[in-house]
Amino acid sequence: MIKLERVNKSFQNGKPAVSDVSFEVNTGETLVLLGTSGSGKTTTLRMINRLIAPDSGKIYVNGEAVTTQETTALRRNIGYVLQDNGLFPHYTVAENIGIVPGLLKWDKKRIEERTRALMEKLHLPAAEYYDAYPQQLSGGQQQRVGLARALAADPPVLLMDEPFGALDPVTRASVRKEFRSLDEISNKTVIMVTHDVQEAFQLGDRICLMDKGTIQQTGTPAELLFSPANEFVINFFQEQRLLLELNAVRLSAICTLLPTDHVVEKASPILPEDASCWDALEQMTTLAVPVYYSFDDKLIRIDSAALMQAFTQYKQTISSNGRSTRLS
């Protein structure tokens, strides 16, 4: 659990970097700090593990103010992933992953077991990479090692500063996917910084959109899209609005609007429960077959026309319902 209360920070020249920022992130939740460069998102992140000291305001990690904890102990309890991975070039992959457990004085056997387990989970075969040096790895592999390193001591909190920013689009998509499916993060409080809107929508349970050091809006992806707090929020997503909306709206939200005359007994492929409209469209267009979705113990066949109709209807409903309605 992380909580920020009215946090302020100015640059050395007196210009505010972060003004009056407050938010709360619960255990198991991922909050994405989204914004352009200079919006104060990285500064906000670095204040949580005290790499930067705030001028005013309070920051709590797991219910305790960060200033009352010993800095090194605090940081060892917070996983930290950087954009340029920051791996130690003079340490092997295994040594890199074992840094924090080592600082926490785990015994050697435990560190090795943990390292091997994490490497398997992140698709880094230990046989091949355990004793390799970071420079022998590809960018995607390095970033996975960086992630493994942050997770090594199983910290309750994970801070990620543009973790996939330095990767090419293809690698980024695959590493992102892996990250999303990682069971390790399901019980953690995660805060991630990015300027990539799609990434924010894909990974964030909630998104905190920042501009010029202040929070413009904090909410779920759908809230940001369908009930924007101000002009800035509307304009920020304008360019990719349709794509984002299709991504933000889950089938579970519109299934009541889907025609129910296509109930079948047995079929494939069946979309996962949390699939979005976008996922459904993607499946249909790539496989060129109808897709199925399980709802109310019934399997419904969905075709593109029906889907788009339901989606349109849904949008109209929520616009007329007013902006503050909680969605998805």
């Binding site: 605090l74 940081r75 060892r76 340029d84 991975n85 791996l87 070039p89 003079h90 840094i99």
Partner: protein, 522 residues
């Protein structure tokens, strides 16, 4: 003079000495390097944290680096005397800049993301330094140590000037004696050491990261072991310490003669004659190879030991003049001879003392002396002709040339001109034979050994008798060069062993044989 043996024979003969000097050289290099690493690396680390200090500390180290090495050694002597201490300090100061600078830049160039990651993961300052910054800066720091090592191997040759030993002893001895083999015997090992250590540290730089960690632990021990080489040669030796000039060390009428004729074996360091007397006075040295009429003998209250077995050839000073000039101006010889037999050793020492130590003008000293002897006459300002009087760059020459000038001006109608500072014997003598000068004061021993380069058999029959030497050179010079030796002035400026007067009296030593006796029993 004797034929020089070939280089391999020379090395074989001097193997013991060569090994000792090499060990000393390695020791000097690495003691200073060790201190420079111990002080330079932490300083480099400090200035990465206190950036305000960086400018001034790097500036000071940079200025130290620009001081010429021989001058730096010179500065050290008043502070630390002679021997290993000032040499090590000077070498240390030279090694400092590359080590501080490379530590500083090495640490600053560590990827900031890595530092950020390390800090963010909860490393303390100390862990950050030891686990991240130093290992990653190590190749750059090692490059600095490598530079410092090579500088030190080179500069350490100069340590021989201040009695700190090392391969410089051979190099400077060889230069003084014009002995190529000796120069090479010092220069080649010194160059090899530089190449060897350079390659060694370069290898260390290229080691894989994991091995670097091991190397980090080994390095200090290695430095310590290499440093201790310096102490090995010093572990044996006699109760009294002698300091000889590089030239004296290699001369037959020097240290070699002392060993052969007197059987004198004592712990010996090599030292520049410029600081030798003072070192004896300050009790750093007990016995030195001085020049018997040097002003500093008086200044530092030293006593010349009697050469009772006559190994030092007589170096009686006398004016040597072109016969052509004497024929042209017959009145010249009587004027010059006024000085004959007037100046004995102690008088010459006194005169040198006034010039060298009291810094009086040689012309003034010459004038005062002639006045006291009743020999000074006002210049006649004659215009019959010009006589050019030469003098070597050192010691007695200046004063004698000035005396002759006054005598020629006062007793003849000739006009005397002095041309002093003519480098060494060879330059002076060439100027005389070429007619660029008409006369200069020379020593009988130099005439015999350096100019005539008489056969060994001839030298052996003459050397103990000052009259025989004078007769031989007079005759030979006239025959070969048409140059006349006028009667000797009286003093004998020869090599001499000398000790502090007080110590000599306490130990009842008045001659070299006494010294040998004493050393045998102590």
């Amino acid at each position: 003079m004797e034929d020089q043996p070939g280089f391999p024979e020379f090395v074989q003969q001097q193997a013991g000495k060569l090994l000792e000097q090499t060990l000393q050289h390695i020791g000097l290099t690495f003691i200073s390097l060790l201190i420079a690493v111990v002080i330079g690396v932490p300083l480099g680390i400090l200035i990465t944290r206190r950036k305000k200090l960086a400018g001034s500390i790097l500036g000071i180290a940079g200025v130290l680096q620009t001081i010429p090495s021989i001058a730096l050694l010179g500065f050290m002597i008043p502070l630390l005397g002679i021997g290993a201490k000032p040499a090590i300090v000077a070498l240390f100061l030279y090694a400092l800049l590359p080590i501080i600078r490379n530590t500083y830049t090495g640490i600053l160039q560590v990827d900031p993301t890595v530092i950020d990651a390390a800090t963010g993961m909860g490393m303390s300052q100390r862990q950050l330094l030891l686990k991240v910054q130093l290992p990653l800066a190590m190749p750059v720091i090692l490059a600095g140590i490598r530079t410092a090592t090579v500088i030190n191997v080179g500069v350490a040759t100069l340590a021989a000037y201040i009695a700190a030993g090392g391969l410089g002893e051979f190099i400077f001895g060889g230069i003084a004696l014009n002995n190529t083999n000796m120069i090479l015997a010092g220069a080649i090992p010194a160059a090899l050491l530089a190449i060897l250590f350079d390659a060694g540290v370069a290898r260390l730089q290229k080691l894989r990261m994991r091995s670097v960690k091991t190397a980090l632990y080994i390095l200090p021990f290695l430095l310590l072991i290499l440093s201790s080489f310096y102490l090995i040669p010093a572990a044996y030796g006699s109760s009294l310490v002698a300091g000889f000039t590089p030239e004296f060390m290699g001369r037959k009428d020097g240290n070699l003669g002392l060993k052969q004729v007197y059987g004198l074996n004592m712990r010996t360091v090599v030292i520049s004659d410029m600081i030798m007397y003072k070192a004896a006075y300050e009790k750093t040295l007990d016995v030195i190879s001085g020049s018997s009429t040097d002003g500093r003998v008086k200044a530092f209250d030293l006593q010349v030991l009697e050469d009772d077995k006559h190994i030092f050839p007589p170096y009686y000073a006398a004016p040597i003049v072109r016969q052509a000039t004497l024929d042209k101006y017959p009145e010249l010889a009587p004027a010059l001879n006024k000085l004959s037999g007037i100046i004995n050793d102690s008088v010459m020492t006194e005169l040198n003392y006034r010039v060298d130590h009291l810094k009086q003008d040689p012309a003034l000293v010459a004038g005062d002396f002639l006045k006291a002897k009743g020999l000074l006459q006002p210049a006649r300002k004659g215009a019959k002709g010009t006589v050019v009087i030469g003098a070597k760059i050192f010691g007695d020459g200046y004063i004698l040339a000035n005396m002759y000038k006054l005598l020629v001006n006062g007793y003849t109608d000739l006009e005397a001109v002095t041309k002093t500072g003519l480098g060494g014997t060879k330059i002076c003598f060439d100027a005389l034979t070429n007619g660029q000068i008409d006369l200069y004061p020379e020593y009988t021993g130099t005439g015999l050994l350096v100019i005539l380069q008489a056969d060994k058999s001839v030298i052996d029959t003459l050397i103990a008798d000052k009259q025989k030497v004078y007769d031989y050179v007079s005759e030979a010079f006239m025959q070969q060069y048409q140059i006349r030796w006028l009667p000797p002035i009286g003093f004998n400026n020869t090599y001499a062993l000398m000790m502090r007067k007080q110590q000599a009296t306490e130990l009842h030593i008045t001659s070299i044989s006494d010294l040998k006796e004493y050393l045998q029993h102590h």
